[in-house]
């Protein structure tokens, strides 16, 4: 039960803790700057459901969470970010005896620290093009050995992995007054903890934002209402327990995410829904049904 559970749960939780940074995209990052000596803050709440269990357990998972992100501009080109999640994870499963049980946990998840540096920028009237690599580490701030009356919770139902996982990536952003495009490629090297090593994660994210209102910008700085379409291609290698690959772990997922975003000088309000377009998960891993995200960002 222990091995099987944590193996199948891997399929529903990898990439659940999307790297979210201040900027325009809602499911990934941007290369737009944080001014020197200034802070920006983002609070996002999300709700995610997964199911389609191919096995007899009819497992269903939902995760309610929030991500708090604080960004600080060291210079106009170099910024550092901290991400702290709060999570409430629940699993409903039918046991072999027929009883339907619920298991879950809630609390602080694994935080992240990373830095982003703009290595190239081409600023022109009314537009900017930027390339910014980033690198950081996922911290084991979430509890990873939580148990309930049935025993130790499955590893992916835990709040954290217990491991220190480095990650790195590259962001390309092109922004004009009418639209913005962001592309991010990233890789996370998952390390071993508690005898389990989650598979490494690679992802490619794209975001297109188009200003739908106002059509005329006037003489000052009006709020911009953007229509948003984002895409996320995720790939995770199989996890390993005791050095042995877990069959029901890892795989590929592609999400499409329509949304809205209202941007002012001091704050941003936004919401988006991630819908799976394609899921090729290994073994009996659960599939994502949808994820809803909503949040605010503040420019202090």
């Amino acid at each position: 039960m222990f091995v099987v559970s944590r193996a199948v749960m891997a399929g529903i939780c990898f990439f659940g803790m999307t790297l979210v940074v201040l900027g325009a995209p809602q499911t990934s990052n941007t290369a737009l700057p944080v001014a020197e000596g200034e802070y920006v803050f983002r609070q996002q709440v999300f709700y995610k459901e997964a199911g389609n269990d191919p096995g007899p357990g009819n497992r269903e998972v939902d995760v309610l969470g929030s991500l708090s992100v604080l960004g600080y501009g060291i210079t106009g080109d170099l910024s550092v970010f901290g991400v702290l999640p709060l999570l409430d994870k629940k699993l409903a499963v039918t046991l072999p005896g027929g009883a339907r049980v619920k298991r879950g946990t809630s609390g602080i998840g694994d935080g992240r620290l990373f830095a982003r540096y703009t290595v190239f920028k081409d600023n022109a009237p009314g537009r900017t093009f930027r390339i910014a690599p980033f690198a950081g580490i996922k911290l084991p701030t979430g509890k990873s050995r939580q148990a309930d009356s049935l025993g130790l919770l499955p590893a992916t139902l835990q709040l954290g992995s217990g491991s220190w996982d480095p990650f790195a990536g590259l962001i390309v952003t092109y922004q004009t007054l009418d639209y913005q495009f962001d592309l991010q490629a990233s890789y996370k090297l998952n390390t071993k903890s508690n005898g389990l090593e989650f598979g490494d994660e690679a992802r490619l994210d794209g975001s297109l934002q188009y200003r739908i209102w106002p059509r005329d910008l006037g003489n000052f700085v009006p709020g911009f209402l953007y229509g948003v379409l984002e895409g996320n291609l995720l790939n995770q290698a199989k996890s390993k327990a005791g050095g042995v690959e877990i069959a029901s772990s890892g795989g590929r997922q592609l999400f499409a995410a329509p949304g809205l975003q209202y941007v002012t000088r001091r704050w941003i309000a936004e919401a988006i829904v991630q819908i799976p377009v394609f899921q090729d998960l290994n073994g009996a891993a659960l599939e994502d049904n949808y994820t809803v995200r909503a949040g605010m960002r503040f420019n202090f």
Partner: protein, 103 residues
């Protein structure tokens, strides 16, 4: 023997003050300056605030008005402190953007 007119001195004082106020309004604050910056890369409201914050930190700046459509920022001072192009350029750079020109 002169006879003091009631309110004579205070009347003169009021006249002087009225002229001073009229002159101040006509000429503006002493040594006030207005700079119009053309900034490259400015394309969203959230980013414009980052530039404004950097410009407001400069000594003597009391008003910053952005026109995002034209990519221009008007910076006004009222303390007699003049701003150099180098100062303005550095402030814009600290916000991650590029100063094209100052008028």
């Amino acid at each position: 023997m002169k006879t003091a007119r009631p309110g004579g001195n205070s009347g003169n004082l009021l006249t002087v003050l009225a002229l001073a106020v009229a002159f101040w309004f006509a000429a503006g604050p002493a040594n006030a300056e207005t700079y119009t910056l053309r900034v490259d890369g400015l394309a969203c409201p959230f980013c414009s605030y980052g530039i404004e914050k950097q410009l407001r930190k400069l000594a003597g700046v009391n008003e910053v008005i952005t026109n995002i459509k034209n990519g221009t920022i008007q910076v006004k001072t009222d303390t007699g402190n003049k701003l150099s192009k180098v100062e303005l350029e550095a402030a814009v750079k600290r916000s991650g953007f590029t100063l094209r020109s100052v008028n």
